[in-house]
Structure formats: structure tokens, C-alpha cells
Symmetry: C2
């Protein structure tokens, strides 16, 4: 018995209206070097240039915009490996809502600092030993706060879908779109926009090879749970897809691919040296997978969703030096 | 007796038409963090996201587009500390013109490699001992090639002016615009666009403190020559303004300011960690000067021209680590 009502593209358009004037309409960049290497036309939707440095602002702001009077007063709680935390903290500040954020103790220092900088109250936990969902739920039930999960929520999914919506509206239909996959918020949202605006476009989710629960789930038809994967893609260390994201992904996505940490570093280096963009490891998942299958993309129009750029500079430099 | 005919804004609009479909219309980015720090509205015109990573493509392509049949056949020669070299090499390749580039032996490896990658024939020289202008002129006279200097040429100046033109056309008039200053091509071109599109806008050129020949020239009224300055801003190690750039700068610019290497590094770090942009040291000159005088900019609308992003990643990381 499944009583979930999945979000639709109408929810994405409603989210886009709410985000108007709050989220950046991020640039779509092209690189002649990439086009020549691919023998294709490649469009990078740069959510690393989004407010707070990642697409997550879209979903969080959309969700918090829909709070009623009581929810606005009691506040929001969120658990997150990083970007969602900042997104909720910033959205809450903009909307005048108190925010408590549950973050892993080993989250990048830049993300912890930025979350506090946006006015969020931070509670840390050990991501290898404690269950962040339990901690978040406890805070929500004890203090009456509204929990906004990082991906498994219709308003979050609808908000994330606005990035792909902007991409298709600006460059037209594409032959294939590559989207990074952690818990599936961005991929599910992108799926809603893709099926509405470019129905023939092949849509790929891309995960870290070390944590391919999404691929296993997509191919087996049931949500597979894994231990927290060890990967540099800290934004995609999720253990399972969600009850909202999985059915959309299963229905609308063409395949789920993977990329190794080494491939992510190569893409980070290329993006920094040739495209002048700082991209966090997770943000390179789509680019890395597209590069791996570029022989199959010749002559096509390709979209790559760059999810975020929140990586400490010392860590960024040590990854590039390796 | 001055027989030079200075370029005008009409030359900038003609250049813009030639560049259409060849140069990127680069994004103009904003940062809430910067706006809050400045108490002002700040627009970054991101020429680091231009083709080959710098505004120089605009001037070079414009100049080469105007070659006649004989010039196209015999080819172009250019001397450059880096970005102009790549710009000429790439423009020449796009237009089917042979290119020879005279570059300093200690130019960033990425710039040497990129210039060769674009198909340019590279001749190296010692920038502390040899005179690149002499070497370039010799090549031009011996082989009948057309010399395109990095800044002191009407078509180069007109091409560079298209960046500020795009900025004003997209965001409207500004109260102040900060532009980096080496030999003055970008600043003179920006001056033409500024006086045509935003006559009341204060226009500042910004040089490395170690090489303030432009400031001395601007304030004294004659072109001052200096030794090659020691600064991390390798794109602004010019020894003097040009015969075309100086009179425009003297006439249209409000003041010439300076920034230290340490201030440039601070801006590079901020841009990378908060704006997700790789900017080369020279590219941060305008940002650094604006930060220094931000108390005078409160409540205003400010433009900052980011000139380029061509910096080797190892060097980028070592500068940020210092």
C-alpha cells in the first residue's frame, strides 16, 4: 500500500515561481575544448554558482516557503552532510525562520562555518556511528520543529527540478542529461523537468562507484541500503534512495552510472584549469560519467548538471596535487 | 605632432559585431556575501570565463578579423606575457591565419602549452634581459608578418571595450567600474564604453603596487617607463602604457589605483572558496582595489572586471597556501 503522492512537473513550475528573485538563474557554460574532446555540444548547468554554492538552495527555499504560521514560529530542523545544511540555514534566515542543523562532525570546515555563518544552530554527530535521521526526528518531535530532509520530500524534489527546467528553457531539448545522484532529490526533480520539457532526452543518474546503492536499486527495483560509502564525493555518501525519489527515478531515468574518485579528481582539475570553475567532488559525477561514455555521444547535444562547488581550498588543492 | 587616430566607441560597436558568435558573452555574477561586505551592489564581469580564459580574445580576434588578403597569407606575429599569445594563436586558428608568438621563457606552463595547443609557433625570450618588442618587430620585418601588439593598437583596444559594453548593456549604468591595468588595452577600451554608456560612472584602473607606471603616467601626464616589475600579477608586468592607450586613459579615467600581491591572493582565495571561480592574480586587481576603498562605495552600484583565469593549478594552490 503506497499512499505517497509524488510531485509532478506542476510542482516544479510552482517552485520556480517561489524561487524567482531568490535563487540565481545560474549560467550555462560551454567549453570549446570539451566540445572538441567529445565531438558533441556540451552544456554545463553551473549550480556551483548558485547561492551558497549548490543546487540545494532551490529545494530548501521552496520547502521553507511553504511553511504555515505555526511552522515558521517553531522553526526547521535539518540533517545534512553539508550543502543541504547551508541551504536550510540560508533559506531560514531569508524567511525569518529559526533553524537547527544536524551535521556530521567531519563535514568540510567550509560547510560547517558557512552553516553557522548563515545563522543556523549546528548539532554535530559521528556519521560512521550515529543515525542522523534518528537525531533529526528526535529534535523535531521534542521541540515541535518541522524536519526538512535533504532529499526525500516533495517540495525539495520540486525545488531541485528547477535547475534542469532552466537548462532546457535556455538551450532547448537535449539528447542526454547527466545528473549526480546521492539521495536522488536532484535526479528526481530533473526527471520531472526532463520528461515535461525534453521527453526524448536520455537521463542518467551518476553515483560514486564506492556507493552504488542507487544503481543497485534502479536495476533491482527495490531500495537497496548500504553502509556509508568511503568516497571523496561527500555530497553523495547517502545510504539509500528515498520513498519519494526512488519511484520517480525508477519511472523516468534511463540508467544509473558510476564514477571513481580518480575520475572525479580528473574532472575537478580540468574544470579548474580550463573552465576556471571550482567544483566539489560530488559536483563532477555527471561530467565524469559523460567523459567515460563520450564515444556514444558523438554529434549529440549533452547537458551536464554541476551540482555544487563547496570544497575547502586546502582539500581542493590536496586532491588536485594527488 | 601627434598623428595617431584614437579609436572611438563606434569602433567598439563594430568590434562587438565581429565578435558575435565567436567570443562568449561572459556571465555577470553577483555574490550576496560581497554585497553584504561592501554594503553595495557589486557586479563581476567574468572574463575568466571567456574563450581561452581571458578578455584578450576579444581584442585579438577583432584585430585579426580586419586583416586583408595579403596579411592573412603572410600571417601574424605577437609578443605577449601570456594571455595575448593564446588569444592571437586561437584567433589565428579560427581565421586560418599562420601565427608566430614571442613569449617569455618563464611564462606560466599552462599558457605556453595552451598557445602551442592552439597551433601557434612559439619563440621564447628572457624577459629580464631581452626586448620582446624588438624581437617581434624583427620577425615582422624579416618575414613580412603583421605584428599585433598586446595592447597598443586601435583594433585591440576596440575589441577589449566590448566586455564593459556587455556589462553596461546587461546591468545598466554603474556608479564606479574597476578595471585591471597592464598596458592599458582593457582600461582604454572600457573607457570608450563607459563614457558612451554610463558617462557619470567613475572609472578606475588598477595596477600592481610593484609596477605603478600607469599611476605615475596618469598623474604626471607623460608616459613613464619602468623596469619589469616583480609581482605575481604576470599579466600586468608591462613597463609602460602605449601611445594609443595613454591618451584615452588620461582623458577618460578618473584615477589609477594599486593593489599589493598579498591583497591579490586574498581576493583569489575569496573568489575560489566563496564564488567558485579560478581567477589569475592579475584578474583580481580590480576586486582588490574595490575592497580597499569599500567604505567609499556604500549604497552604490559597482562593476568589477575580472580579466582572466589562466593560472597553473600548482601555482594557484601554492599562492593560496602561502
Amino acid at each position: 500500500m503506497n499512499t505517497l503522492t509524488l510531485p509532478t512537473y506542476a510542482d516544479v513550475t510552482a517552485a520556480a515561481a517561489r524561487l524567482q528573485g531568490h535563487a540565481h538563474k545560474t549560467p550555462i557554460l560551454t567549453s570549446r575544448t570539451v566540445n572538441e574532446a567529445f565531438g558533441a555540444e556540451v552544456f554545463f548547468k553551473c549550480e556551483n554558482l548558485q547561492r551558497m554554492g549548490a543546487f540545494k538552495f532551490r529545494g530548501a527555499f521552496n520547502a521553507l516557503s511553504r511553511f504555515d504560521e505555526r511552522q515558521r514560529r517553531t522553526g526547521v530542523v535539518a540533517f545534512s552532510s553539508g550543502n543541504h545544511a547551508q541551504a536550510v540555514a540560508l533559506s531560514a534566515r531569508l524567511l525569518g525562520i529559526p533553524a537547527t542543523i544536524v551535521m556530521p562532525h567531519d563535514a568540510p570546515a567550509a560547510k560547517l562555518a558557512a552553516t553557522r555563518g548563515y545563522g543556523g544552530q549546528v548539532v554535530v554527530y559521528d556519521r560512521y556511528k550515529e543515525d542522523r535521521e534518528q537525531i533529526g526526528s528526535d529534535l523535531a518531535s521534542r521541540q515541535g520543529m518541522t524536519l526538512i530532509p535533504p532529499y526525500d520530500h516533495p517540495d525539495v524534489i520540486a525545488g531541485q527540478g528547477t535547475a534542469a527546467k532552466e537548462l532546457f528553457e535556455e538551450v532547448g531539448a537535449l539528447d542526454a542529461l547527466f545528473v549526480c545522484l546521492g539521495g536522488g532529490g536532484l535526479l528526481a526533480g530533473s526527471a520531472l523537468s526532463t520528461r515535461a520539457l525534453a521527453p526524448g532526452c536520455r537521463l542518467y543518474g551518476v553515483e560514486p562507484e564506492a556507493g552504488n546503492d542507487g544503481q543497485q536499486s534502479f536495476r533491482s527495483g527495490t531500495i537497496v541500503h548500504i553502509d556509508t560509502p568511503q568516497t571523496i564525493a561527500d555530497g553523495a555518501q547517502t545510504q539509500h534512495l528515498g520513498n519519494y525519489t526512488f519511484p520517480i527515478i525508477r519511472r523516468d531515468v534511463d540508467d544509473v552510472l558510476t564514477a571513481t574518485d580518480a575520475q572525479l579528481v580528473e574532472c575537478m582539475r580540468f574544470a579548474a584549469s580550463r573552465m576556471k570553475l571550482v567544483i566539489e567532488p560530488t559536483g563532477c559525477l555527471g561530467f565524469a560519467a559523460a567523459r567515460q561514455m563520450k564515444d556514444q555521444l558523438k554529434g549529440q547535444r549533452i547537458g551536464i548538471l554541476i551540482s555544487g562547488g563547496n570544497v575547502d581550498m586546502p582539500r581542493f588543492c590536496s586532491l588536485l596535487a594527488a
